[in-house]
């Protein structure tokens, strides 16, 4: 009996021990993972570590765009003790409408919603005030917000971001992959009071790469200011401006007007303001394009700056149309004079000597008809019609900058070819990604170096005594070309009296440091021509750029000669306003039939040049081999202004010996031993 009882007792004890053991196995082996997760959920907090978006800098390290941490407020309406009081507190702290907020909170509570956003991206002060209230039903979520501290500065270049901080324009969109940051996660082990004891990185955060742009913030500001003033003062529609380093392709400023504030989300009312006119909106360049025509002429024909060009007294009849020179016209003049005065007929004569194939070839060589590859979305390639669909008078049109559409940045690229000695350099916006410097693209030879030098001299003539006198700078030699292209109305099929006034220029002539292109779209009257509206903008912007870049002067400050008469800035491309359908639109090869049978014939070779009358204009003397004393003495005797450089014997001079010496023109003489 005793033994039985003892046995029962023993079995009870064994059973008890076994049940304890089984429970332990159940807890620590079978349901181990479940309880570990439960414990972790209670003990661990998942903390997000921000991966901020990359900052955008200008070339001098000034911040153009950066992301800063911010917080958003949310509540659980079901846990708020008093909705009315909560609405009062939150509306006072966050500047919200109390009644509207209360209604929203009440509706959320009635719908049993446990989560309600109150306000996104509050300010630092608002965040601190809310935290100081110590109310457990107010929760804050960390977020990031993109800021553009300079307001509208470089808005079209920078672009903007959407509510998820994803680029939706400009560099922000073009370099989204580099700029985008990836947030990380950290598991924080906490005690009962939710204080952190230990932490473990669950996923590594990745900050976006900082990007340095080529632009100079101060230059950009000056460019935007002057462009806005010019567009508004001339009641124009829009404008664009590009400042470029012709040797490296660095864009120092790129302005477009109208502009917008990237700090504000896009509105339907400012869609047009967000168009980047410098890159995305092509236009007919007009007389500015004569730079390409004459460059092609120098390269492919025997034309020289002093070659006589018959401007037909300012009127030229072509099949189906009549071309006029806007300033009354001239007879036979040297090519450089026709260029300086922006004679349309002179340009057409040169273009005809060049020929269609060569003209098309050089247009493409200068980069027209294809994108420059600048790191901005929405770039337009402009339009260069295929040679096979050129019409009877297309060569004439193209020679004076019509029947072709270009962008401002393409004009800057083309101007750089002349400025840097004949090389096509791609414009670029990005200087560095992180610490890695982006190498400029390899330049491509477009024209010969001496062609470029000759073009520079002719373009200096435009500024000295042509249509571009408004672009003269004190202390610097300047070369440029004005353009005043009539805007074509595609609906009415004729040109209007609105113009695109442009100026393409560079300085200094001896070693151009900058190329500046200014275009004002939708100007009116003679005051809207390029020389009147764009050249003054060039003067201010180029002057500031040369000062900022510390470019040494190549003229004394008092070398700026003010023209004694009102300069003739008229360089209108095609004054044929009365003819109908005289411009061939894309694909439309219809040409109005002229009464004269000969007008239906394709334009043939140019008639032999009319013998020029005896030229009695002063010529540049030959200083080669002379000492500086002898050069200065001869120049003083003849009343010629000389700019000597170096010492020793005269080796080179510009303009060359025998060239026509224009009034006020200085001769640069290089001396060496």
């Amino acid at each position: 009996m005793v033994e039985r009882r003892l046995k029962w007792l023993a079995w009870i004890v064994v059973a008890w021990g076994a049940s304890i053991f089984l429970k332990l196995v159940s807890l620590q082996v079978i349901h181990h993972r479940e309880y570990v997760n439960l414990a972790r959920a209670r003990q661990e907090l998942v903390v997000e570590i921000s991966g901020p978006r990359g900052t955008l800098f200008d070339r001098n390290g000034q911040v153009l765009a950066m992301s800063a941490p911010t917080e958003s407020v949310y509540i659980n309406p079901l846990k708020v003790p008093d909705l009315g009081l909560a609405a009062q507190i939150l509306s006072a702290e966050l500047q919200l409408d109390r009644a509207e907020l209360f209604a929203t909170m009440q509706a959320a509570k009635d719908n049993h919603r446990g989560f309600l956003w109150i306000k996104h991206r509050i300010s630092y002060d608002e965040s601190q005030h809310l935290k100081s209230l110590n109310l457990d039903w107010i929760s804050l979520q960390h977020e990031s917000q993109r800021h553009y501290p300079n307001g509208t500065l470089a808005a079209h270049l920078l672009g903007g971001v959407d509510f998820e901080e994803k680029g939706n324009g400009g560099i922000e969109r073009a370099l989204e992959a580099d700029l985008k940051g990836v947030p990380g996660k950290m598991r924080l082990l906490t005690d009962v009071k939710r204080r952190g004891i230990d932490s473990r990185l669950a996923s590594e955060p990745r900050a976006g790469q900082p990007v340095t742009l080529t632009i100079d913030a101060h230059l950009q500001f000056v460019a935007e200011r002057e462009l806005a003033a010019a567009v508004e003062s001339h009641n124009a529609v829009s404008g664009s401006l590009v400042v470029m380093n012709p040797n490296t392709g660095d864009i120092l400023a790129l302005a477009s007007y109208p502009t917008y504030d990237p700090n504000r989300p896009p509105q339907s009312s400012d869609i047009k303001n967000r168009e980047n006119h410098a890159v995305s909106v092509p236009f007919e360049p007009g007389s500015v394009f004569k730079v390409i025509t004459l460059s092609a002429g120098l390269e492919t024909t025997k034309l020289r700056p002093d070659s006589p060009i018959d401007c037909h007294g300012g009127v030229l009849k072509l099949p189906g149309r009549v071309i006029h020179d806007s300033h009354g016209g001239t007879g036979v003049v040297p090519m450089e004079t026709a260029f300086a005065k922006s004679s349309n007929i002179g340009a057409i004569m040169v273009g005809m000597r060049v020929g269609q194939e060569n003209m098309y070839d050089y247009m493409r060589r200068f980069g027209f008809g294809r994108k420059t590859g600048i790191t901005l979305p929405g770039e337009s390639a402009g339009r260069v019609r295929k040679l096979s669909i050129w019409g009877t008078t297309s060569l004439a049109s193209v020679s004076m900058g019509q029947e072709v559409s270009v962008t401002t940045v393409q004009l800057a690229q083309a101007g750089s070819v002349v400025a840097n000695g004949g090389l096509l350099v791609r414009p670029r916006i990005v200087l560095k990604k992180g610490s890695q410097v982006q190498q400029p693209s390899a330049p491509v030879r477009v024209i010969k170096a001496d062609t470029a030098i000759t073009m520079r001299q002719m373009m200096e003539g435009v500024v000295l005594h042509g249509t571009g006198t408004g672009a003269r700078l004190a202390g610097y030699t300047v070369g440029g070309k004005t353009g005043s292209a009539q805007i074509y109305d595609y609906a009415a099929h004729h040109y209007t009296h609105s113009y695109n006034g442009s100026f393409l220029g560079f300085a200094p002539i001896t070693n151009p440091a900058i190329v500046v292109v200014v275009t004002i779209n939708g100007t009116h009257g003679t005051a809207g021509f390029g020389g009147a509206v764009a050249a003054p903008v060039f003067k201010v912007v180029a002057g500031e750029a040369l000062r900022v870049l510390d470019v040494p002067k190549d003229l004394p400050d008092d070398g700026l000669q003010v023209a004694s008469v009102v300069p003739d800035v008229s360089d209108l491309a095609d004054a044929d306003l009365t003819a109908q359908g005289n411009i061939l639109v894309d694909g439309d090869e219809e040409a109005p039939q002229a009464a004269n049978a000969s007008a239906t014939q394709p334009v043939g070779p140019v008639a032999p040049a009319v013998p020029a009358p005896p030229d009695t204009r002063p010529r540049v003397p030959n200083f080669s081999g002379m000492t500086m004393r002898a050069v200065l003495a001869e120049a003083a005797a003849k009343g010629i202004a000389v700019v000597p450089a170096g010492s020793g014997i005269a080796r080179m001079q510009s303009p060359p010996a025998g060239a026509v010496l224009h009034e006020g023109e200085r001769i640069r003489v290089q001396f060496s031993r």
Partner: protein, 159 residues
Amino acid sequence: MATLARVFHKHEAAGPGGIPARQAGAPLDACALRALPQEDVFFYCKKIDNSRLVREPDPKAGGTCWSVIGAACLAALLLTAVGTVKVSTTMSGYKLEDLRAEERRLQDEQRALDLQEAELLSPERLEKLAKEQNLVTPSAGKVFRLDNNRPDGTVAMVK
């Protein structure tokens, strides 16, 4: 005092059905106790006189005591040391996490300050301030820098 002996003695006096359990004439065993009813278990008590028993002094007992005490103290010290390390680790963990949170807060504050600095240095604001102070932009070639090695271009003189 109610003891088993007394209880058994009473029962013995009474016997089953009042019949005394012990028959007259049976020898009296001083140590034998009354048997339990219907049981064959007999209890005996024995008086043991241990007054002459003297505990011999154990020379090792003291040492053992001290050893036990020492071991206990050592164990306590070890536990304290382990506990202290753990507590110290936990306290350091608190400090470390506080420092990390402070670092994150300072980094966020630095970004906010960088942003504020950028806003203060915006060209538009500087232009406005310059106009208010009647300052003009120097023309080219009129600015002389004393120390060209400094990247910020210290300006000493405007001619």
